[in-house]
């Protein structure tokens, strides 16, 4: 059991490396940018898969968590605290003393004093987790249509806030977001020379997160979640605190979304309101659905495939329509996801009781 998981992961790593090597050899390095972005999106998607497929809670507002993470980090690393510092603000001075601030120059040559990216990142994740926790408590008590609408509503509120507030750059969003140096030599930014390093950083983050979720599914908690999804009152009767488990899963998936938001924002150097929009949330749900709601591998594969194709522009101006169509088709014909269609069982018989 564990060895099968290990070989699958090893295979995944091999594929990741192989793709990079191939782009190197064929001189198609530019693919790496979109692949990197795809991988960060997949981080959000596997987290969403946990919530939708395993805990059985639909979330039509997950782009909201991505945005909270990304916007928090972006605004903290771009807002200039220099005026406040020069005015002797005690708060800013204290932060500076603790080493939480850095200086740099903006792309216009202006000297800046901003929050250190690491601190900004951790704050962004913490804030997202807190909001997810607070929102989750009432929202997860809802079911069916009500849950869908509530999560949709949440996503729209976040969208409206970032669109309307000057602090968040209104319709233009935030740009000139600096690189994020994880460790000496490993910086997340959009530099051309840094492409390969960034590709592997994204892969490392994604694969680590993925492994954590795989572990979770196979554990006592994973079973409890599947139980909650399958037959909630039976799970209740087994002593499982269903409300708490649903909440923690929701918060965990929000954290995944926030990390994706933070890293992708530093990678592309900016974030805009459309990243928080309903269409993005719907897209994520579509991908989880086609991957087979309760399949992390499916979500990963489909996320990789569809996001990459979308970024490559394959769907042209019909991008949103494509994901809408995918949703419908999958839900009509393969609600358990493409990988669980009954035609597969004719090729490879499943283990069922005689």
């Amino acid at each position: 059991m564990a060895s099968r998981k290990l070989t699958s992961i090893a295979l995944l790593v091999a594929v990741v490396v192989a793709v990079q090597v191939i782009t190197q050899l064929t001189g198609t390095n530019y693919y790496l940018t979109q692949l990197t972005m795809t991988m960060y999106s997949c981080l959000l998607i596997v987290g969403l898969c946990l919530v939708m497929g395993y805990a059985g809670q639909i979330s039509l507002g997950h782009a909201g968590f991505f945005a909270i993470g990304g916007y928090t980090s972006a605004s903290l690393t771009t807002m200039n605290l220099l005026p406040a510092f020069e005015n002797g603000s005690s708060c800013v001075t204290a932060l500076n003393k603790m080493g939480l601030l850095v200086t740099r120059t903006s792309m216009f040559g202006e000297p800046l004093l901003t929050v250190h990216p690491w601190f900004a990142c951790l704050l962004a994740i913490a804030i997202t987790a807190l909001i997810a926790f607070l929102i989750g408590i009432p929202v997860l008590k809802l079911k069916g249509h009500y849950l869908a609408m509530a999560t949709l509503g949440f996503g729209i509120i976040i969208f409206r806030i970032v669109l309307a507030m000057e602090f968040f750059g209104e319709a233009d969003g935030i740009s000139d977001v600096p690189g994020f140096t994880l460790l000496p030599g490993l910086t997340v930014n959009g530099d051309m020379d840094n492409r390969v390093v960034n590709y592997y950083i994204a892969a490392a983050v994604l694969i680590t997160g993925f492994i954590l979720l795989l572990n979770l599914i196979d554990s006592r908690v994973g079973r409890a979640l599947r139980g909650i999804h399958g037959a909630e009152d039976a799970a209740d009767a087994m002593g499982i605190d269903t409300a708490r488990y649903k909440l923690y899963t929701f918060v965990l998936s929000a954290v995944f979304a926030a990390v994706a938001g933070v890293l992708l924002t530093h990678y592309t150097g900016g974030i805009s309101p459309s990243d928080a929009g309903v269409m993005k949330s719907v897209r994520y749900v579509a991908i989880v659905a086609i991957g087979g709601m309760a399949s992390l591998w499916g979500a990963l594969t489909m996320g990789g495939l569809l996001n990459f194709l979308s970024l490559r522009g394959l769907f042209g101006s019909y991008d949103d329509a494509v994901f809408g169509a995918i949703l419908i088709i999958i839900m009509l014909f393969a609600p358990e996801g493409v990988l669980r269609l009954s035609i597969w069982s004719k090729i490879k018989p499943t283990k069922e009781a005689k």
Partner: protein, 298 residues
């Protein structure tokens, strides 16, 4: 203290939008009552009515264009039901939600490719953009009176329809107990199709009558759907009379929020916040019955 003129202005603005929200909510309720499905594409019916009428108006006189647009939207509603919903066997709630969301997206994208993203509007039914009537000191466009009149007619006709006509009573029967209705010879499947057509019709009419005031745009559906759903839940899902009251309430609230200086950009946030609050605190709505609501399978 606000002057009477200003107050009346806001009230009229509020009930104009409010009654549109109520019509959308009633559309939700009709389909929900017959099928238990929430049709996320409800807002698109309003959009289609307006947009189609605008296009048809280019070579048909206005009244005909509107009638044709309504018929067109009813056709779309029927098609949606027949192609995507009819043949599903006891689909789960989640599945239905996702399907109707997908449908709303597709319709919106098709509208984008057919009509582009330009904002259009039907001509005023009577008068023009600057004509106005003075009521209680407020300068009201005659179109507002059209909206109120037409929508009130819709509400009245619908309640008469459900109470007194055979078809209406059959739909009510289907809503209460589908199995029993089928045993009495009512074709449940057709009832479902018809409920979609009816919802589409009233949405389209609303879309046409409000178009001169609010203009029509390919993506106006989503916002309306959310507000319509908020109103439906506020009144108690399935309860159309309450939806009217709730709709007017929400419309007036929004209008006055602008009046007290609430930033326009956050206006949508009001209705969503109300939705969230209601869902958290009293999901069966202001007028709903808790136990009856909990019996409806979700």
């Amino acid at each position: 203290m606000m002057s009477l003129e200003l107050f009346s202005q806001y009230i009229f603005a509020g009930i104009t939008y409010g009654i549109i929200y109520a019509i959308v909510a009633i559309g939700f309720n009709i389909i929900y009552n017959t099928t238990g499905i929430i049709n996320f594409a409800q807002g698109e019916f309003v959009m289609l009515g307006g947009m189609a009428a605008i296009s048809l108006n280019q070579f048909l006189p206005l009244p005909l264009a509107i009638v044709a647009a309504v018929l067109f939207t009813m056709l779309v509603g029927a098609l949606i039901e027949i192609v995507f919903i009819r043949w599903l066997e006891s689909p789960s709630v989640l599945r239905m939600i996702i399907i109707t969301i997908g449908l709303s997206i597709i319709i919106r994208e098709i509208a984008l490719h057919v009509w582009g993203d330009t904002v259009r509007a039907l001509p005023y039914f009577t008068g023009n953009v600057i004509s106005s009537v003075t009521i209680l000191g407020a300068a009201i466009s005659p179109q507002v009176l059209w909206v109120l009149a037409v929508c009130s007619c819709i509400v009245v006709l619908l309640s008469l329809f459900f109470k007194f006509t055979p078809l209406g009573k059959e739909m009510q029967a289907c809503a209460s107990n589908r199995l029993a209705a089928t045993l009495c010879g009512i074709n449940a499947k057709n009832m479902v199709t018809f409920s979609f057509m009816l919802s589409a019709a009233i949405g389209a009419v609303a879309g046409c009558v409000v178009s001169p005031i609010t203009s029509s745009q390919y993506d106006m559906g989503t916002g309306l759907a959310i507000k319509g759903f908020t109103v439906a839940v506020l009144g108690g899902l399935g309860n159309s009379m309450a939806a009217v009251a709730a709709g007017l309430l929400l419309g007036i609230l929004e209008a006055f929020s602008v009046g007290v200086g609430f930033p326009l950009a956050f206006q949508d946030a009001i209705s969503i916040s109300i939705l969230l609050i209601i869902l958290f605190v009293r999901p069966h709505g202001l007028f709903g019955n808790k136990q009856a609501a909990s019996l409806k399978e979700f």
